[in-house]
């Protein structure tokens, strides 16, 4: 029984992790080695390996070539990563800020129709990007927003607000009201109490919320592809754009870029692992 269980765990771990391992190996290859009929799987530190060998000479060339501009693109990977970073960071700050404020309002005050408003907020998460993007694009055109950082920042802020409001509402609800009452007795205004009590007490929640907002902005593709297909192209749209170019996919660079791109996400996943459950269920399940 115990052996069977270990085997099952091993099988699942292989299924889950082998594709990522393959990505790491691919990033160390030359392009010719990525498309061989007899795959090479062992990286070795040598200039050459025998043609029929399972070993391939490992190289970091793909990483250093990330600053090259590929056929079908106008900027290098690093420039696209910068776009992703600016858009992700700004929209995350905005959604956590607005989300925390709204969560505080819903948590501490009686607001007419609060329940319906909260349902509305949640239901925005159900909208398929492709079904709402055209009207947004048409309005954006009037203000020259397509292809800019600002355009996607605004959109991702709105997109992530549902998550931010719901998650933060859970975190603010957990802060005992007595703290603020005590502060009010001490003569603090509501605003001062918000700043000196709620914000520090909710800082863990804000950090967790920020991580989830950042990840969904970082990974988003539908809006990025349709609103920013030129100008400030984020990494997912950039990679997709390399498909079908006449030189074929530059697989080592794609793998290297993808690893660089997912590395911060893996790091954040580890950092918020205690709150993962809460984050992915919109705060419905608390641990």
């Amino acid at each position: 029984m115990k052996l069977l269980r270990s085997l099952l765990i091993a099988a699942y771990a292989l299924f889950a992790l082998l594709p990522l391992l393959w990505m790491a190996l691919t990033s160390l290859k030359t392009r010719d080695d990525t498309i061989r009929q007899a795959a090479r799987v062992v990286p070795v530190l040598a200039r050459e390996t025998a043609p029929e060998s399972l070993a391939f000479p490992a190289t970091l060339a793909a990483y250093s070539e990330l600053n090259e501009v590929h056929v079908g693109a106008v900027q290098s990977f690093w420039e696209h990563l910068w776009h992703s970073l600016v858009i992700g960071a700004c929209s995350t700050l905005a959604s956590v800020g607005l989300g925390t404020l709204a969560a505080y309002g819903f948590s501490r005050f009686r607001i007419a129709g609060a329940r319906d408003w909260l349902f509305f907020v949640l239901s925005t998460r159900f909208m398929p990007p492709l079904a709402v993007v055209m009207p947004i694009l048409l309005v954006y055109r009037r203000f020259d927003l397509p292809g800019t950082h600002l355009g996607l920042v605004l959109l991702y802020t709105a997109f992530n607000l549902s998550l931010a409001v719901w998650l933060m509402k859970g975190f603010v609800d957990e802060i005992p009201r007595a703290y603020e009452e005590a502060a009010e007795v001490d003569g603090y205004s509501r605003l001062a109490a918000f700043r000196t009590i709620i914000v520090p007490q909710a800082s863990t929640g804000m950090a967790v919320t920020a991580v989830f907002c950042l990840i969904s902005a970082w990974n988003e593709y539908g809006f990025a592809l349709t609103l920013n297909h030129s100008g400030a192209i984020t990494v997912p749209a950039y990679f997709a754009g390399l498909q079908g170019n006449i030189e074929g996919m530059p697989w080592p660079q794609v793998a290297a870029g993808a690893l660089v791109f997912v590395a911060p996400i893996v790091l954040f996943t580890v950092l918020v692992r205690r709150h993962l459950l809460r984050g992915v269920t919109f705060g419905t399940i608390k641990q």
Binding site: R5, I9, Y12, A13, A16, L17, P19, T26, I35, R36, A38, L98, G99, L101, A102, Y104, G105, F106, R108, F109, I111, A114, W117, F120, L122, T124, F126, P128, P129, L130, A131, V133, M134, P135, A158, F159, L161, S162, L191, Y221, G222, T226, P236, A237, F239, Q243, V254, A258, V262, I265, F268, T269, R273, L276, V280, T281, F282, T284, I285, K286
Partner: protein, 295 residues
């Protein structure tokens, strides 16, 4: 969600807190809805600025289009198949990962990584794994003497390939929630079952399954809302206009952006939104019910 007992009447301050977020959400969600309805009655195009009213001609076309019904059916099939597979596999994985062992927490964190990654980027890379000629999957199958389908180009396999990538990405999500459900079952229930000499199967059917059901239902529901929007993986594997893999979202992309037919595309979008809003209102209420029960 209701104001708790000590909630104050906030007056202006309360509304100042919630208004910015709500205004944002209305601007980016309600406005496009309304504008979509308007556009759906026109012949607007992506290039060129002139447009004329077309009445309900777009809708006549949409309802007469077998491609739309096909895309809706395929999306439904995708949702059904992916959510079932992911829930089954995730729950099974949770059962074997339930007991503590050394290195379990580290392994769990590693296993959860796929669901945090970008489907567009990772889906693109899966093309290399699934490639019919030099892909590592087919080379492995070859070594084992198994048949080697052309995963991403064979009409019979394309859809399954996209499903496979989705299952790979999202089984961790089900695993995470199923584990939480299993951990919340009090040990004394199993002890009582043992005292009653219940077999492990009976204990599983009478204790484990019913107590896990609400959270697994929640997990299935959250996945359903995402799977309904399926776009990234289809784009990465086959592109938007493949007769075997076109989902509702990629159909919209094809009509709106490749064909540039805004009027027609908006009529499609309106129908999609009607379906989505109906589902969303059922789902949000289910979520709220769960939240209240756990509170």
């Amino acid at each position: 969600m209701d104001a708790s007992p000590g909630a104050a009447r906030g007056g202006k301050l309360a509304y100042a807190c919630v208004a910015p977020a709500l205004v944002f959400l209305i601007a980016f969600n309600v406005f496009p809805l309304v504008y979509n309805v308007v556009l759906g009655f026109t012949d607007a195009e992506l290039v060129g600025s002139g447009w004329r009213w077309r009445g309900t001609a777009n809708y006549a076309r949409v309802f007469g289009d077998p491609g739309f019904a096909q895309a809706v059916r395929r999306t439904a099939l995708f949702v059904g198949a992916s959510v079932t597979l992911e829930l089954g596999l995730g729950f099974a994985a949770a059962l074997v990962l339930r007991e503590r062992f050394r290195g379990r927490d580290t392994l769990l964190t590693a296993l959860l990584v796929p669901m945090m990654l970008s489907p567009a980027v990772i889906g693109l890379f899966w093309n290399l794994i699934l490639d019919g000629n030099y892909g590592i999957l087919n080379q492995t199958l070859d070594a084992l003497g198994l048949p080697e389908p052309q995963w991403t180009t064979d009409r019979a396999w394309k859809f399954a390939s996209i499903l496979l990538i989705d299952v790979w990405m999202w089984t961790p999500f089900m695993l995470l929630i199923a584990l939480a459900a299993l951990n919340s079952i009090p040990a004394y229930l199993y002890e009582a079952a043992e005292v009653d000499r219940a077999t492990r199967w009976i204990a599983f059917r009478r204790i484990t399954l019913p107590l896990c059901a609400p959270l697994c239902g929640l997990a299935a529901l959250l996945r359903t809302t995402d799977a309904l929007k399926q776009f990234d993986l289809v784009m990465a594997v086959t592109g938007p206009n493949d007769e075997r893999t076109q989902t509702v979202s990629t159909l919209l992309y094809q009509v709106l952006f490749r064909d540039g037919r805004i009027g027609l595309g908006s009529a499609y979008a309106c129908l999609v939104l009607v379906l989505v809003i109906a589902l969303a209102s059922v789902f949000t209420r289910y979520l709220d019910g769960l939240r209240r029960r756990s509170a």
